[in-house]
């Protein structure tokens, strides 16, 4: 038997580490969505560059919606900081060993790229603004006339999206002190979960206001610019189907990676196996297997497969479930991961 008593009682540290509340899971979730949306937008922009599908929802509003979502994530990140007035210190240096430093700089570039990407179709999406700021229309025309530039922008979106999606996982898995995070599967898992949540967010946004003309007013126009499909027609069924098909792939890979993560933890050291026990009978078992795996992955996977084969009508239910599951995954991992620790050996 081993009995350890300590006089330390630092808030947030003892009895179990809990320094990150709802803000970090929310940021990781939103960052994942934005990462996924950037990859999807990049793909759609490649088609725009080829002259196909020039008014597609996915290349038009996705960067703008991504930009707005990223603001929500960054606000959550700022709220988490304990020394907020010193946040500028992140941009005085680049620390190559710190995933957080990489992430801060990637986020800065992501902001710029999302803004330029949004500019391509901003005048169509938000006529109110384009009429008052003619330079936006000129910039959009200038970009649209240069397919090589759009192609480059598309690839920039894809690469940055992947970097953003991966770094959130790397951020956690570099922490040796937290065995639950200590698996390199976390980075691809977060990336694929982000891709799936990005596809779900785009799908949801495209379905919220299908095919009404963009409002001419300031606020209505701005909101429509983010979520509404351009023009009087709803998104073509084939375009919506392609998102659903992509999401099925992402969800299947995510399921596989979760399985691998559990096996990797169980087959590693005693500390890692003990860390995995929080989702295998421990306090996070129900939320993980029911919330994340069943409702967040398996059910939407089945629903979307049935939708594609026309056995059930298309609804927003799978998209909502995928988004809720994506948040639950990060919430469980951030909370349970913090409390996991390296075990001390005890004889007998």
């Amino acid at each position: 038997m081993l009995e350890i008593t300590t006089t330390r009682h630092n808030p947030g540290i003892d009895p179990a580490l809990h320094v990150w509340g709802w803000e970090i899971p929310l940021y990781l979730f939103v960052g994942g969505i934005v990462a996924g949306m950037m990859v999807l937008a990049g793909y759609a922009m490649l088609r725009t560059a080829k002259g196909e599908d020039t008014k597609s929802f996915f290349s038009v509003q996705t960067p703008l919606l991504g930009f707005m979502l990223l603001n929500v994530g960054m606000l959550a990140l700022l709220l988490d900081l304990a020394h907020k007035l010193y946040v500028w210190a992140v941009y005085l240096t680049f620390e190559p060993l710190s995933p957080m430093s990489w992430g801060s700089w990637v986020l800065l570039i992501v902001y710029g790229v999302l803004l330029v990407s949004a500019l391509i179709r901003l005048p169509d999406a938000w006529p109110w603004l384009a009429q008052r700021v003619p330079v936006l229309q000129n910039a959009s025309d200038w970009l649209l006339a240069r397919s090589k530039l759009i192609k480059a922008l598309a690839w920039t979106n894809i690469v940055l999206g992947v970097l953003l999606g991966i770094y959130t996982g790397v951020l956690l898995n570099t922490m040796v002190a937290r065995p639950l995070w200590n698996t390199s599967i976390l980075a691809p898992l977060f990336l694929v979960s982000g891709l799936s949540a990005g596809a779900a967010a785009v799908h949801l946004a495209a379905r919220v206001f299908p095919g009404r003309p963009a409002p001419k007013s300031l606020i209505g126009g701005a909101l429509a610019a983010m979520v509404q499909h351009l023009g009087p027609e709803p998104p073509r069924a084939q375009a919506a189907d392609s998102v659903v098909r992509a999401d099925i792939g992402f969800l299947a890979v995510e399921l596989l990676l979760i399985g691998l993560m559990v096996i990797a933890l169980l087959s590693s050291t005693a500390s890692h196996a003990a860390a995995a026990s929080v989702i295998l009978g421990g306090p996070y078992t129900a939320i993980f297997w029911i919330g994340v795996v069943t409702l967040g992955i398996v059910v939407p996977l089945a629903l979307q497969a049935l939708e594609l084969t026309h056995r059930i009508p298309h609804t927003v239910v799978p998209a909502v479930l995928v988004l809720a599951g994506g948040f639950a995954l990060r919430w469980v991992l951030v909370n349970a991961g913090q409390a996991s620790q390296i075990l001390q050996t005890a004889a007998g």
Partner: protein
């Protein structure tokens, strides 16, 4: 260049917490927080028991995960004694270092920055021992340069049996416990 470390004799330590109080007084540690603390470890089943009492603090690791993960460089290795220090006005309070430390040595100061043991570098610069070492009534703690072949810490580590905390974390801690 010096590499400061600490050797603590668990056979002498009685867990009086004088080191804890000295640190709180010397460093103006806010009430409710501690930069050093006493851990009591009891192993075995009655009547076959062993007990070890340890005064614990930041290990000023040779391979410090808190420094690697810091996005601003606020957590850094100070040239003096290669100790791990925090520059408060570069810290954004992201708490990555706190999550990265396997020893739970850090905490968020009520003013918002990450805080922890400094090895009392302000005293060491003046040629004094850290506050905890200087007040210990059993003289169980020794502070010094691990790279000095004739130094007291090096000699204790060569002549006595010792262990460090969580060596499996790969942090190469520099607080050693004589057994």
């Amino acid at each position: 260049m010096a590499r400061f470390g600490m050797v603590i004799d668990t056979r002498r330590c009685v867990g009086c917490m004088d080191c804890v109080v000295a640190c709180q007084t010397e460093n103006d540690v806010p009430i409710g927080f501690s930069r050093d603390w006493i851990t009591t470890e009891v192993r075995g089943t009655f009547p076959d028991l062993t007990m070890e009492i340890r005064s614990e603090r930041c290990n000023h690791c040779d391979n410090p995960p808190c420094v690697h993960c810091c996005p601003t460089g606020a957590s850094h290795v100070e040239p003096l004694g290669r100790t791990v220090q925090v520059t408060a006005n570069r810290c954004i309070g992201c708490k990555a270092c706190i999550a990265a430390c396997p020893y739970g040595a850090r905490f968020v100061h009520p003013k918002g920055y990450a805080d922890k043991c400094t090895f009392c570098l302000h005293r060491v610069k003046d040629g004094k021992d850290p506050a905890c070492v200087s007040v210990c009534p059993t003289h169980c703690m020794t502070f010094g340069d691990l790279d000095d072949p004739n130094g007291s810490v090096g000699r204790l580590l060569r002549t006595r049996k010792w262990h460090a905390l969580l060596p499996e974390a790969g942090t190469r801690p520099r607080v050693f416990y004589l057994t």
